[in-house]
């Protein structure tokens, strides 16, 4: 059964995404078709434009701020920006507005092709690669990875080392948005000091403290995949210990509601899998109280233990005494409705033993620097006498500088570092010298910024090919969010990276490297907005079984799907249509997939077609919902922005207020009443039908057939008017015109790869990449290779006001 949609819906569909409303014919869907259109010349195109476009896009009306009346179509170069806009609308199929006359489908495609080949021809003869700013600061994720690759340091908390980054164009690695403020500089100086001290194994480092809070709504009822079998709950902390020495580990552990001496729980602390502490949990006076204050005293445990320097796995967990469900709660992750305080959550809703937080203090009674990967990485030589110290320091620092600055180092680079080495050496020992030299290196603009300098003697705005060295950094920051490794740098230093075969070889090698995980966490994490899963907080009264475990599993599923596309070099269309997915027991239960047990993720075939691809994944469906209901508008907007490349503008300022009190019926009916307002309809008539097609998914992405007592109506429509039913229909509609999705993905990849917004002048390159990918089954690596080979990636426009011109000017004066 379905709610009849009011007839008005058909009348108000306006595909224009521009800010202006177009008065639309009241004739419904059956658009009158003209006779066959053939476009093979500017005259043909002009005829078509005059016939189908200019009635609105005239000099007089300028609908949507656009006139196509006076444009000389035989000169695409002169009107590239405008024509790219036209092409985008035509590709989306949103123009002319539904209900108005259109060319026949072949003619319509022909018109697009004619425009595109004109634009592509211009780009081929006069390439315009655009220009990323010359100074491109590393963002926090890149800095963290660079430190990992430069110094083999992992397990440090970079959130307390550096400020977070601002995003533009949907990504946080945009050169223009990465400024340098006193706050940043202050933190970079501090980071340089503490990282250099940790890396060299400075045994005078004052003992530090660090606490890991465990999210309050993490259910610890089952074994975690990263912890040993036979355990339940607890936490694993992967952390860097700066020196061989003793550390105090404190943790909060609660016995859980209703625990008794007769059925004791046992807690275990282990370091790198070796048990260092094992004890029976004491009975603590846990009550169902609101204050929680009286239970704090008996919950802290403290262990002092020697730990060797380096990156270690610390686990605090419980021995699993029974595989059975806790008897007092069948769903142990149920939260009491309407309450978020974590103590209440734990006491009221969580019944098993759990770990609250873990903290580390140390090193105390330091035994030595230890043999850490960092020290091995840094100390490539060891001076056997005082006389050999300087040459060895020179070797160490120039090796580090080459990697950190991502280029061959100059004498002056090394001399600067040596000055600081000598300062440190005079204060202390050889290690101190290296530490101060390293501190200096990490504070250098050559490390903190990717620097692209125009070659001298270029005319302003001239187009030039990046050097191999610059290309190497572009490649490594794109694929790894990190610095080039030695092999890439070697190849680039020899000038071989520009060779297409070598470039392909390096790209494929880098894609296969574990560091390419950065594409999942940084690219997909932002493109698909997976990072937002962490901040979601569905209403506990409505969704009492939502917990941190589910949040993590949701995000992991989509990450693993994206990862499989990268690793297995699959078609990127599998993102929409994969017949497999990745689940653990928690997520499988959420979806109703049977026979999945345990907390490790595994690949499973998708038997329920609704779940194929990201459109059926809880991560996306949850982050695009409100905390207490679905939001078809948000979901529709998400699809437009991230899958169709047609972001709707923000609501106009003079928007008449929506009067909720005058709307009635289901959400769909209310939204339809809302769309009676012509200004709203411009965008909502496009967003809403896309979003409503996902209405079978609850705010947490669970399948449903009714909502609020009404049967779900999941009828939807594409911006080009194609109608469909539900998520399956949406998926098919997207796959029927895959170029929209592929183009959008390519655009997003290009923004991310270049660290700048894309311009109309980049679109020929985007089309080139998608065409190439289409010839190879839309494989991920083909998209990446196409991008890496593209003009915007390989070339750069010199500054319009480049240095020679300034020099010339000052010479004149």
């Amino acid at each position: 059964m379905r709610i009849r949609r009011p007839a008005v819906r058909g009348l108000l569909i306006v595909a224009a995404l521009g800010p202006l409303l177009v008065a639309v014919s009241s004739r419904p869907q059956a658009a009158p078709q003209a006779s066959t259109l053939t476009v093979s010349s500017a005259t043909d195109a002009r005829g078509a434009v005059d016939k189908y476009c200019v009635s609105c896009h005239s000099d007089r009306l300028k609908t949507g701020g656009l006139s196509l009346q006076g444009i000389d179509l035989s000169k695409p170069a002169a009107h590239a920006d405008t024509l790219e806009k036209v092409v985008r609308k035509l590709r989306l199929g949103s123009m002319p507005p539904l209900g108005l006359p259109r060319p026949d489908p072949n003619g319509y495609t022909g018109l697009i092709t004619w425009f595109e080949s004109g634009l592509d021809g211009v780009a081929a003869s006069t390439p315009n690669p655009g220009r990323t700013e010359s100074l491109h600061r590393l963002n926090r994720a890149e800095y963290r990875n660079a430190i990992r690759d430069l110094l083999h340091l992992e397990g440090l908390n970079f959130a307390t080392l550096l400020p977070g980054d601002d995003a533009s164009y949907g990504f946080d690695n945009i050169a223009g948005a990465l400024g340098m403020t006193p706050t940043h500089l202050e933190r970079y100086m501090d980071a340089a000091r503490s990282l250099s001290r940790i890396a060299v194994g400075d045994i005078t480092l004052p003992p530090g403290g660090e606490t890991h809070m465990i999210p309050p709504d993490l259910s610890q009822d089952e074994q975690f995949a990263e912890l040993p079998f036979g355990t339940r709950g607890g936490v694993r902390v992967q952390r860097y210990f700066p020196a061989d020495g003793e550390y105090i580990i404190r943790f909060q552990a609660f016995t859980g509601v209703g625990a008794s001496e007769a059925e004791p729980n046992f807690i275990e602390l282990s370091v790198d899998g070796q048990r260092v502490f094992y004890e029976q949990m004491k009975q603590t006076p846990i009550k169902h109280t609101i204050t929680g204050a009286d239970i704090q005293a008996n919950t802290d445990w403290e262990v002092r233990t020697p730990i060797r320097a380096g990156y270690r796995d610390v686990a605090v967990t419980f021995v699993q005494t029974t595989a059975g469900q806790l008897e007092d709660y069948l769903q142990p992750f149920l939260r009491p409705p309407g309450i978020s305080s974590f103590r209440l959550t734990r006491m009221g809703g969580y019944s098993g033993p759990y770990v609250g937080q873990v903290s580390f203090t140390g090193p105390l009674s330091v035994a030595g620097s230890g043999d850490t990967p960092s020290r091995q990485r840094i100390f490539v030589c060891e001076p056997s006498s005082t006389a050999k110290e300087e040459p060895c320091a020179r070797t160490i620092l120039s090796t580090l500088a080459r990697r950190a600055y991502r280029r061959p180092v100059t004498t002056s680079d090394v001399e600067q570092l040596m000055t600081f080495y000598r300062k440190g050496r005079a204060e202390g020992d050889f290690t101190r010298g290296i530490q101060i030299g390293l501190e200096r290196l990490l504070a250098s603009p050559d490390f903190l910024f990717r620097i692209e300098v125009d070659p001298s003697n270029l005319r302003p705005g001239a187009v030039y090919r990046l050097s191999d060295i610059e290309l190497a950094s572009r490649l490594s920051f794109f694929l790894w969010s990190s610095i080039p490794d030695d092999e890439l740098l070697d190849v680039a230093s020899r000038g071989q990276l520009k060779d297409p075969a070598m470039l392909e070889r390096q790209t494929r090698r880098m894609l296969a490297d574990p560091r390419a995980d950065a594409l999942v966490s940084n690219f997909a994490g932002q493109w698909l907005r997976l990072r937002n899963v962490q901040g979601t907080d569905p209403n506990a009264a409505l969704f009492p079984d939502f917990d941190e475990n589910l949040r993590r599993s949701m995000r992991r599923e989509t990450e693993l799907l994206f990862d499989s596309i990268v690793r297995e070099n699959r078609s990127v269309l599998d993102l929409l249509n994969a017949d497999y997915t990745f689940v653990d027991e928690r997520l499988a239960r959420h979806y109703g997939i049977p026979n999945v047990y345990g907390s490790h993720f595994r690949r499973v075939p998708v038997t329920d077609a609704h779940r194929r691809g990201i459109l059926g994944q809880a991560s996306i469906l949850t982050t695009t919902s409100q905390s207490n209901r679905t939001s078809p508008v948000t979901r529709g907007k998400w699809i437009l922005e991230n899958l169709l490349g047609a972001p709707p503008p923000a609501p106009p300022a003079n928007i008449p207020p929506l009067d909720d009190t005058k709307l009635e019926g289901t959400l769909r009916q209310r939204m339809e009443q809302h769309r009676k307002n012509a200004t709203c309809a411009v965008c909502h008539s496009v967003m809403d039908p896309l979003g409503f097609s996902l209405e079978n998914f609850s705010p947490l992405g669970q399948w449903r057939t009714t909502d609020g007592g009404f049967p779900v109506d999941a009828a939807g429509a594409m911006p080009d008017g194609r109608k469909f039913e539900g998520v399956d229909g949406l998926r098919e509609a997207l796959l029927a015109k895959p170029d929209l999705f592929i183009t959008t993905l390519t655009e997003k990849l290009m923004i991310y790869a270049l660290g700048r917004g894309i311009e109309p002048s980049d679109m020929p390159a985007v089309r080139g990449i998608t065409r190439e990918a289409a010839r190879d089954g839309q494989r991920f690596s083909t998209l990446i290779l196409g991008l890496v080979r593209s003009v915007p990636f390989q070339m750069r426009s010199a500054a319009k006001d480049n240095i020679e011109r300034i020099a010339a000017k000052s010479a004149q004066q």
Binding site: E133, S134, L135, A159, G164, D165, D166, A167, S168, D172, A175, G176, A177, G179, M180, T181, P182, T183, E186, P206, G208, E210, T211, M213, F251, Q296, T299, D300, I339, S340, S341, F342, R343, Q357, S359, Q416, F420, K423, E439, R440, A443, P445, D454, R531, N532, G535, D537, Q626, S627, S631, W638, P649, A650, A653, P657, D659, D660, T661, A799, D801
Partner: protein, 458 residues
Amino acid sequence: MVIKKLALPRRTFLRGVGATLALPLLDAMVPAFTAVGRTAAAPIRRMGFIYVPNGFIREYWTPDKAGTDFLLKPSLKALEPFREQMIVVSGLANLQAEAMGSPPGPHSRSSAAWLTGTHAKFTEGADVRAAMSADQIAAKTLGANSVLPSLELATEQNEQMVGNCEAGYSCIYQNTISWKNETTPLPMEVHPRVVFQRLFGDGASAGEQRRYLQTTGSILDAVTERIGELERRLGASDRGRLGQYLESVRDIESRIQRAEAKTDDPSLNLPPRPVDIPPTFEEHAKLMYDLQVLAYQADITRVIAFQLCRELSPRTYPNIGVAGQHHALSHHGNNPDKIKDVAKINAYHVELLAYYLGKLRATPDGDGSLLDHMVILYGGGLGNPNIHAVVDMPNLVIGGGAGSLKGGRHIDYPAGDRVRHANLLVTLLDKAGVPVDHLGDSTGKLGSVVQPEGLSGL
């Protein structure tokens, strides 16, 4: 930056922070800091700016009557104890947040205009532009001798807000309210531990601290040299970023000088170093307020801008029984339930403010309390959120302003007058001893705030 020296035993706890459990031992032993030259004759002037997003519900906030004889409505109820040190200022206009021909972006613009009185440039590129914000203007004078001229704090992390910015506007416009100059927005720190460390150092000895500062100083000299080299190789269009860089270097250098000149005050007891970001918003917000009290108390900074939440904040408030997300609810469509929910959020934010004010009042400073000497502006850039109104926004002026402010009043400007919000900023700066001719679109000072007795502007 690491500043301080002497270690102290733990004596007090940060209140409202469950996070002190299982504290690493050494974190409790933190350094002490500087004596503040507080005298009754010359009270230290301090300013605070606190931003709340997504507009407000006037009916639950704005007193019915102007003047001194008014009742506090539900949203402001928690401020009853502070009534005599508070001025409710209604009816001002954040006019630069209007579209003025730019594409839609009311949240970005209202946030950027709140302390700058300037129209944010429509861009996602390197050319973001607003103006030096009131807090930074204050910091230039009030913070001239502070180790940290100002602090910029928030509670919401950027990386959990992907894709939640207005189309075509850089996220920075809603991520910060503080602008060092027209092209340099300042990042806001959310991590309490970082704030603590910036204030009180990492526990190193005095000798070590001195060495840190010296090394940092000479590294900065070298960096300056390198920036000079780059400047010669890069064109004019790249110099903006280099200039920003160089200015930051100079800024840090002078901070180091001030830090080196600073002496210890062993009489101050510090709480344990905060650990992670607390799991609940309330704990996080209270902790950030605690740190602000400490920063003022230790006189490490005299100006703080705090964004309690940012525009478009999708935060949910289950602990006060609000089911929806703040921004979504704020477009309430006149639905009474949603209106009530937004008002509840407004009231809750104000309760957190009352917590902070209580601490400021309880902290002695010279001949009075910190609160007596402060000028605090609490408010946001939007009025009626349902229509993105940029007039009649919520504004509270709190504190004694060292005798320059007289509270217990409600000043209500007629909306039709479109009195500039920036006039309030100019007025408050003046009250805090930072006279400026104008700020953004200001047209002058607000008479009634300047002359407490003459409520002529009402």
